[in-house]
Symmetry: C2
Subunit: 314 residues, 2 copies
């Protein structure tokens, strides 16, 4: 197959590039490096089945090559510090970017897969969240540039499916971690790893009893590949439902990197993201999928990646 991936230099995008190249497919990566990283493109540049286009998909996707089989739309800032730094760009890649990718898929008679997010559930009043839950999102708060962009992206994806017959898929990605995240992602996984690698105390906000779930990126990629093989057009949750308290998570990182580090407690910021946890029943039934990689295993791989990166950069 020939697969075009927007956001190919991003964290998840780059793992998709790797997976499809490994399976013998041809991959066209597109990124403008607003939040993607050049090193994630450089990994594949020497591969004969990989081609890269540097472009802002909100403006256009300048692909004029052979017939595509799939367009996977993963371009977008995804961490709160990034999308709040680029609110208009984030809104545009959800609207114009998604539409350009849909038009490209339509023109090629290709399948289209949208990377949506658990953020469409907002601050949910239902736990865990099934796909049928409509969410609880502030349409004009400081996070709305991301949440509403992704809700819009879902709406236009369904409109192209219903009105133009595009063979679409929508995934809602829950908290995911792994190698090739940005070190300044700003969320707890990279924060803790970097504090630990610098020999600093780990900062916990609040009393650390709040929980988070963490999905290893390989589990996510497996779910995506399986969904591409099933003609199901409504959204599908992909996430790991195992919950850890932030203190438990800090202890895991500390025990792996440096057991002598302190854990310090600071006041909870006002806009701290609330708990979200996927209901995975649909993915289980539809794709025979569930997350398989234990947190300790995934963290081992992720910490090693950042250790190697730190050595290279020093």
């Amino acid at each position: 197959m020939r697969i075009l991936i927007t956001g190919s230099a991003g964290f998840v995008g780059s793992h998709l590039v790797e997976r499809f190249l490994t399976e013998g497919h041809t991959v066209v990566g597109v990124d403008n490096y607003l939040s993607g990283q050049r090193r994630n493109t450089e990994l594949f540049l020497s591969h004969p089945a990989f081609r890269f286009i540097e472009a802002d998909v909100s403006t256009a996707i300048p692909y004029d090559g052979e017939k595509l089989d799939w367009v996977l739309h993963f371009a977008s800032p995804a961490s709160p510090p990034h999308y709040q730094q680029f609110p208009i760009e984030t809104l545009m890649v959800g609207a114009q970017g998604t539409q350009h990718a849909l038009e490209l898929a339509h023109a090629h008679g290709a399948g289209f897969l949208l990377a949506s997010t658990s953020e469409v559930y907002g601050d949910p009043l239902v736990h865990p969240q099934p796909e049928s839950y409509w969410g609880h999102v502030n349409p004009n708060g400081v996070r709305s540039c991301y949440d509403e962009a992704k809700r819009y992206a879902e709406a236009i994806t369904m409109a192209y499916h219903r009105a133009r017959g595009v063979n679409t898929r929508i995934i809602r990605i829950f908290n995911t971690y792994g190698p090739r995240m940005r070190h300044d992602d700003g969320r707890v996984v990279t924060n803790f790893i970097h504090q630990a690698l610098r020999g600093e105390a780990l900062t916990v906000y609040g009393d650390g009893s709040q929980t988070r779930s963490f999905q290893f990126v390989e589990d996510l990629v497996e779910g995506i590949v399986r969904l591409m093989g099933v003609a199901y057009h409504e959204p599908v949750n992909l996430g790991n439902p195992d919950e850890y308290t932030i203190v438990q998570f800090a202890e895991l990182i500390r025990s792996r990197i440096n057991p002598t580090l302190d854990i310090v407690f600071e006041p909870m910021p006002q806009d701290d993201p609330k708990q979200r946890k996927p209901d995975n029943e649909l993915a289980k039934k539809l794709l025979d999928w569930k997350p398989n990689v234990p947190l300790a295993t995934g963290l081992e791989v992720t910490v090693r990646y950042f250790q190697d990166l730190t050595r290279v950069l020093i």
Copy 2:
């Protein structure tokens, strides 16, 4: 002032044109007639302070005239039959259309006002709806092309306010009626009036005990003008909270047009819009505004408009 109004040939847009021309302002109207009506432009073409540009604001707003003081963004299909017929155009005028209007306002240092809608509350779980309610919207159902487009429009309006300093306003318009609605609007006001004018029985879906609120367009226009004068950037509800059952409403129409008509009852369609009712406290406090036109008075004017129109067309 010089005021550009997108959707100037639409129902609400044309009343804004009239109000501002009457007050001595210069008005630039923009419409592509997707759901606007040429007769609503022709009303003002001979006015020396009116200029019309036929354009699709989702593509561009080709205005190159003197400095604007305000850009009012009212372009969009607004009734369910229209936006479901044009789902992609509806999504685009909410995203690209709103952004083009915001960019124009930014370039001119003009104020910007977004016509949002009570549809951002979706199928609300809170009654009546205050502006602080986040809504209950299906992000990918058949109505999402309109609801999510308007939620996105609010998000990008706030992003331009926060990130670029545009002097923005957002109104959420509840059910509004008056002269210059499309006769094929598809909602209860025009349905009943047209059945009555044709001498047909009035069709009530369900048992007719469900309620609706109806705002006369002049009340809405007054609220808009007042909000333009107040530096308040969060959304403001504009609607009439007086509730009527559908049967009461049918009887009002019948008594005005032809008391001998029958009322017939048919099964409720599956996707019938749920009840919505504005909480007007904010508009009252902020603008000293409340709806003033009684339903009987507003209907009198509206029915006369459609009677005259019918005579002209016959």
